[in-house]
């Protein structure tokens, strides 16, 4: 099924436009970018602004600086029923929706491509993160880890939520489109 509209929430990140281009190129969807501040305002306003903001086939939470607790307004997304894809910080936010927690990595990894086994093949994915998943949230399942056990992808058993810790939109990731299509399939978008 073709994807019509994607809303991409931007956490003042410097990779958001890469993600926009990847989403547009691999799905053909119209991608609308909204800053986190707009989400917060619409949530506080409720009613029509809130419904308008969530009126999309897929919501995407961008990477960004800091930790999930700086972005409390995203908790409201967990009640909307719309499929949610989270990248990096976005994945950590999904984990915290579900009661999970986030921890500093030792050492942190920035700007490194890593080969990861997935579905019987090897995929090269880009990592940029200082923080990672510590305690896994309720109802979540880890679908990908590094060889050292760092969570690289997770999805919810019942709800349409999926997260990648790595960056499919980076030029260091071998096949970014593969990961977007995989997410759409899993989320039944």
């Amino acid at each position: 099924m073709p994807v019509g509209r994607i809303t991409l929430f931007d956490n003042n990140d410097s990779f958001t436009r890469n993600l926009e281009h990847l989403l547009a190129a691999s799905t053909g969807a119209r991608v609308r970018i909204e800053p986190y501040a707009a989400l917060r305002r619409a949530r506080d306003a409720g009613g029509a602004p809130w419904r308008d903001l969530l009126d999309a086939d897929l919501l995407v939470i961008s990477p960004g600086p800091g930790a999930p607790d700086e972005y409390p307004a995203y908790a409201a997304l967990s009640e909307c029923g719309c499929p949610v894809l989270g990248i990096c910080l976005g994945m950590q936010i999904i984990n915290e929706f579900c009661g999970g927690s986030t921890v500093r990595l030792h050492p942190c990894v920035h700007g490194r491509a890593e080969a990861i086994r997935f579905q019987g093949g090897v995929q090269r994915v880009a990592r940029y993160h200082s923080l990672g998943v510590d305690r896994l949230g309720r109802g979540l399942r880890v679908t990908l880890r590094t060889e050292h056990g760092v969570v690289m992808a997770l999805e919810h058993e019942e709800r349409p939520w999926l997260g990648y810790q790595f960056h499919p939109e980076s030029f260091l990731t071998g096949n970014g489109g593969f990961w977007i299509r995989h997410a759409l399939e899993r989320l039944h978008v």
Partner: protein
């Protein structure tokens, strides 16, 4: 932002007969700077795809980005208390429109620079430190002369009002004594001054690096460019001769001489920021520096194989992809020549090409203003990195880490990153310059301090030992 621009009345360049070498042209350029107050954008020898040199004379119009109307009008960066959603966008649109009107509504290309603090305001980061210079300056000229070092051809554009044509013709006809700046071995009349005053001494700089490492571990930034400013007395320095000496001894692709009253801006940058040619966009971020040991073969492979330098460059490539994507067509953005290495001064530098195509409705100034300041001099993610920079650096950056720009039209632009840049003040006889390095998780504070000094080396040596 995407309003169509009024097309400029084009002013044609006339190709002059004959050809001339780069150094002969640079001699003429320095002569015209001396005798006619010309502004210069010169590319030194030895760098592929930087072959254009420009001499600009008789400014006919100037856009000074500092007047109160521009900056007081609800500038979100200055009045966070009054910030409303949309203010930032509207301020950015206003600034863009002023610059576009200046560049595109009158004939001829514009030359000038846009400072780091303009970038701060555009990105919504409050400006807290006083700047000696305005936020940016653009000029239009009665006469512009352009040399292409690949062909040796010279092109000239002149408005009917131009009075300097005879002087230009004479200078180009090699009736110029060789400029003393462009020859080796000449003594300058510079007297060594005192040791430079640094805004951060060794202890303060390495402490700041440690603070950055804490921010990196906390996930606030992945990489951050930390600089220091230096000021030194240079009694008796003739800045134009010194500029010529630097160009001769330390060639780099983006030399700029830009006088502003008692201040003379001197940039010796190796780094292209954004180039747009007929809508084709090229960014060339540099990250990764290795000092070449005298008498030893250049360690190109050591630089390319260093995981730390690789990660630094990759991060900034992703950042530049992001920054040009805002105004590029879907599917057009790509990375080429990843990790190519070139040498400038005694430093090996690693760089990549990031390319794209402007999208319909966006012009080169939308692209430039959307990407300012360049990602390689802020860090990533950009906005939070800039806030941390502002917290840790006691100095304003000013023209340093801004951009020098040559705007030819909506689809044509050349620009460099304002690094390896100095400002000479003729009244106080002081030289102010800056240097910085990129801090990542694997950074060693002492090593970063030394890298920063290495980058300032040509100014330290140039202003004190080398010429004196």
């Amino acid at each position: 932002m995407s309003e169509p621009c009024t097309p400029a009345r084009t002013t044609d360049f006339e190709v002059l007969p004959g050809t001339m070498g780069r150094q002969t042209f640079h001699d003429a350029a320095l002569h015209l700077a001396r005798t006619r107050g010309a502004d210069l954008f010169l590319s030194g020898p030895g760098f592929e795809d930087a072959h254009r040199s420009l001499v600009a004379l008789e400014p006919v119009d100037e856009l000074l980005l500092q007047d109160p109307a521009l900056l007081d009008r609800s500038c979100p960066g200055n009045s966070p208390a009054n910030f409303r959603a949309g203010d930032q966008d509207s301020w950015n649109r206003d600034v863009a429109q002023r610059i576009k009107d200046f560049c595109f509504n009158t004939p001829g290309p514009a030359l000038g620079w846009l400072g780091y603090e303009l970038g701060m305001r555009l990105r919504g980061v409050p400006v807290t430190k006083p700047c000696e210079l305005p936020l940016g300056v653009l000029r239009k000229y009665a006469c512009l002369v352009e040399h292409d070092a690949r062909t040796g051809r010279v092109r000239c554009m002149a408005l009917p009002s131009c009075r300097a044509l005879v002087a230009v013709r004479e200078a180009l006809a090699r009736n110029v004594a060789q400029h003393p700046g462009l020859r080796p071995g000449l003594k300058s009349d510079l007297k060594p001054g005192q040791e430079p005053n640094a805004s951060l001494d060794r202890q303060a700089y390495t402490d700041a690096v440690r603070t950055v490492l804490g921010y990196i571990r906390g996930g606030h930034t992945y990489q951050l460019n930390l600089s220091l400013a230096m000021q030194t007395r240079v009694q008796g320095l003739d800045p134009l001769t010194w500029f010529g000496q630097l160009l001769y001894h330390y060639p780099a692709p983006f030399y700029v001489w830009f006088p502003m009253g008692e201040q003379r801006i001197i940039s010796t940058s190796p780094e292209r920021f954004l180039q747009v040619r007929q809508g084709h966009v090229l960014a060339q971020p540099i990250k990764g520096t290795l000092r070449v040991a005298p008498g030893r073969p250049a360690q190109v492979a050591a630089l390319q194989n260093s995981p730390k330098e690789d990660a630094e460059l990759s991060m900034i490539v992703d950042l530049l992809r992001n920054d040009i994507s805002t105004h590029c067509r879907y599917g057009s953005v790509r990375v080429e020549r990843h990790k190519h290495v070139f040498q400038v001064d005694d430093l090996l530098q690693m760089a990549s090409d990031v390319r794209g195509r402007l999208r319909p409705g966006s012009d080169c100034l939308d692209l430039l203003l959307g990407a300012l300041p360049g990602g390689s001099v802020t860090g990533c993610p950009k906005r939070r990195s800039m806030r941390i920079i502002d917290e840790l650096e006691p100095h304003a950056r000013g023209v340093y880490c801004g951009a020098f720009v040559y705007v030819q039209g909506p689809g044509d632009l050349e620009s460099s990153i304002g690094i390896r840049t100095a400002v000479h003040n003729a009244r106080t006889e002081t030289l102010r310059f800056w240097a910085g390095s990129g801090i990542v998780a694997a950074s060693d504070p002492e090593a970063e301090y030394l890298e920063t000094l290495a980058k300032a080396g040509k100014f330290l040596a140039g202003a004190h030992d080398h010429l004196a």
